[in-house]
Assembly symmetry: C2
Homo-oligomer: 420 residues x 2
């Protein structure tokens, strides 16, 4: 008998019909002899509706009140899902008329304590006493994802996709045997199937690879939740709530076993809409980069790949990328910086770029992987504008209109193509 | 400087535009030097949407989970209204950018303790410590109506219209100087203006009269809230949130003063869709009425006027009315009762009836008021099917198609017509 945390995303509970399907799935798991705790997101569309209302009132609504509003979406989903589990349990004869098989819980009711960083709060601690007493009594606790409570008893939310984090934190606190993340795709793929029809579902992947893929744009799991799962060694299982095929297991690197050792690259990620900035004529002294990125951070601009070039004739230069949506604000911030501090700085930008990345724990032991990537792209006459590497990832900036070609050739070149 | 509780109904906060209007009104009151605590309902339509979702999942959803779902509506309204007050306060220069003038509070956060009668919970106690500390700090607490928390820390709701009750309970707990109920009509009228164009707005009315009017179908205030206001002597003020005309004050009988002493009748209430049942041939012994009405109560049928006739030749007879919507269930329940207990009972029903009532504390000292009512109706050839009286009310059952005529002639006959 295992203790399983099952998390259902917004599309999984997007209608009354689907909520009924989720209820049946939860009780199927219970019927297999497991203890189950459920975490749910808001019904799809609901959080967007609430966000729009808040923004209509105040264009910058981020505050304690904003979180109070947004948390209502999960509250409704939790109540509906608990109702549905009880109705299904009655139908199956598990409880008498009026009996209880599930109870809905809000973040504060099960003691999901967070800091007070409204709309991006971080979980500090979860009380497990009530949850264990419910599980011991044969009750399925249905817990609201995305929300918690701070020290002043105000409701907090964890930021977009925060329900994944709620589920992993709950699984860690309960020392669950498995944390199942139900979503609208049936697992993590070697690359985006819309870009490359030969994409394969990955059976097992390490936390580190999953984190790189999540940060590179694979939207299956929120990166914070993967980090948290890695930290507490929570076994994750990404599954579709609309099919019964096995999904992708996210596990500790050592658990991948021998079979994976032979694979250099686990996946190819792609993200278009990148703009590259190249700054020249900066003074070559310490603290310059901090001033540049400090100016961008103050405007809440998220900078992605950063490359510091070798200084040429006493002047330094820097390259970095931002999302296309942030290009205008970046340009403004840089021009202000030029006027205020670096009068000789030249600002060059290069739009319509895409970032193509290969990810794999295997590449650590195979130093030729990056070179192989450049060779594959070169063979296709794809020009590389910027390169950035981490321990288990190599990213190349290429022209956006070459992204699909780059992904397909890397996918084939690293032996990831589906065999059919 | 007074302490005022302002309660806004669903239509008053029915859109972003209206929420902004409410925020301005709250701050206008603050600008007059008053301390203000706000209670709000859910945006109009929202509770119905949540009810429909819950009923879609489970036709009989009434439970802890049902209340969890329904309470989300007020939660959103509270957050939006607090956001709007803060935005308006910034615009007026009352607080700096990012400053706080209002904070939203859920029932459990301000300690609105109730019993655990889900979907019809009763308030037991309200903690005032946090609310007073907010008011003392110049903050407007915006409190969710309709909801509370029970001893097991589960969310409860107070039943339809419960936000009025929340507001009155809050005003009582805070010993507020005034409890303003903002709604979509501009006060309590001598009768329904749609039935009688000569209807006048009542300036002042007693709790008792308001209770009778509320129970007779005037939908301005929930009857429980008037009861509570009377018990704790909370001064109520019913006002339109869409105009600036003075509304109706609901006060203690003694406070009505001399001017009202001359008035026998304060208002005429009307309610069509009544069905009268007349049961004959019942045994004339104690407990028979209890069996009849017990059978109806078990089917959750609300019985209105009840008249027990004098026994004739050893057999008793009973008359009562129910709403037309409950006629079918009433008939079924009575036929079962006949088969099981009272084989000689005859069931007669009289459909399409209307109940017309006159209400006024003055009639206690003027015993001729009922007779005058019968005379006025008689002059119009209106046949009275059933009469029922209380200390300050006389109700007559008449044919539904004569209801309008009855209301108009009573309104004129008792000197209530608008002078124009």
């Amino acid at each position: 008998m295992a203790l399983i945390v099952q998390k259902f995303g917004g599309t999984s509970v997007g209608s009354v019909e689907r909520i009924r399907g989720v209820a049946a799935r939860v009780l199927d798991t219970v019927a297999q002899g497991h203890r189950v705790a459920v975490v749910t997101s808001a019904m799809s569309g609901e959080t967007n509706r609430l966000v729009a209302l808040a923004h209509d009132i105040d264009p910058l609504p981020f505050s304690r009140e904003y979180d109070l509003i947004l948390s209502a979406g999960e509250q409704v989903a939790v109540g509906l899902l608990a109702l549905a589990i009880n109705a299904e349990a009655r139908k199956r004869g598990l409880v008498p008329e009026g009996g209880t098989k599930a109870r809905g819980y809000l973040g504060h009711q099960v003691g999901i304590h967070t800091d007070n960083g409204y709309s991006k709060a971080r979980i500090r601690e979860i009380d497990t006493k009530l949850l264990f007493s419910e599980l011991d009594a044969g009750i399925v606790p249905v817990v609201a994802g995305f929300q918690g409570v701070d020290d002043s008893n105000s409701i907090t939310t964890l930021g977009r996709g925060g329900s994944d984090t709620s589920a992993v934190a709950l699984a860690a606190a309960l020392r669950a045997d498995d944390c199942e993340i139900y979503t609208d795709v049936d697992g993590v793929y070697t690359t985006d199937p819309r870009l490359c029809p030969k994409a394969r579902k990955i059976e097992r992947i390490s936390y580190e690879e999953m984190m790189e893929l999540a940060s590179l744009g694979a939207k299956v799991l929120q990166i914070r939740s993967v980090e948290l799962a890695a930290k507490f060694r929570v076994p994750l299982h990404v599954i579709s709530s609309f099919s019964n095929t096995p999904g992708t297991r996210v596990v500790h690197r050592e658990e991948l076993g021998m079979s994976m050792e032979q694979v250099d690259v686990s996946g190819v990620a792609a993200d278009n809409n990148q703009v590259k900035y190249h700054l020249r004529g900066l003074p070559n002294r310490p603290g310059v980069a901090a001033m540049v990125f400090g100016a961008l951070t103050r405007e809440s601009i998220v900078v992605d790949v950063i490359v510091q070039d070798m200084p040429v004739s006493g002047m330094a230069s820097l390259s970095f990328t931002v999302g296309e949506a942030e290009a205008l604000r970046t340009q403004t911030a840089l021009e202000r910086l030029k006027a205020e501090a670096f009068r000789e700085m030249e600002i060059q930008s290069d739009k319509s770029l895409a970032k193509v990345s290969i990810v794999g724990v295997g590449m650590q032991h195979h130093p030729g992987v990056a070179a192989r990537m450049f060779q594959i792209l070169g063979e296709q006459n794809i020009d590389i504008r910027l390169i950035s590497t981490s321990e288990i990832k190599v990213s190349c900036l290429v022209a956006a209109d070459q992204m699909k070609l780059a992904v397909e050739s890397l996918h084939r070149g690293f032996g990831l193509d589906r065999l059919d």
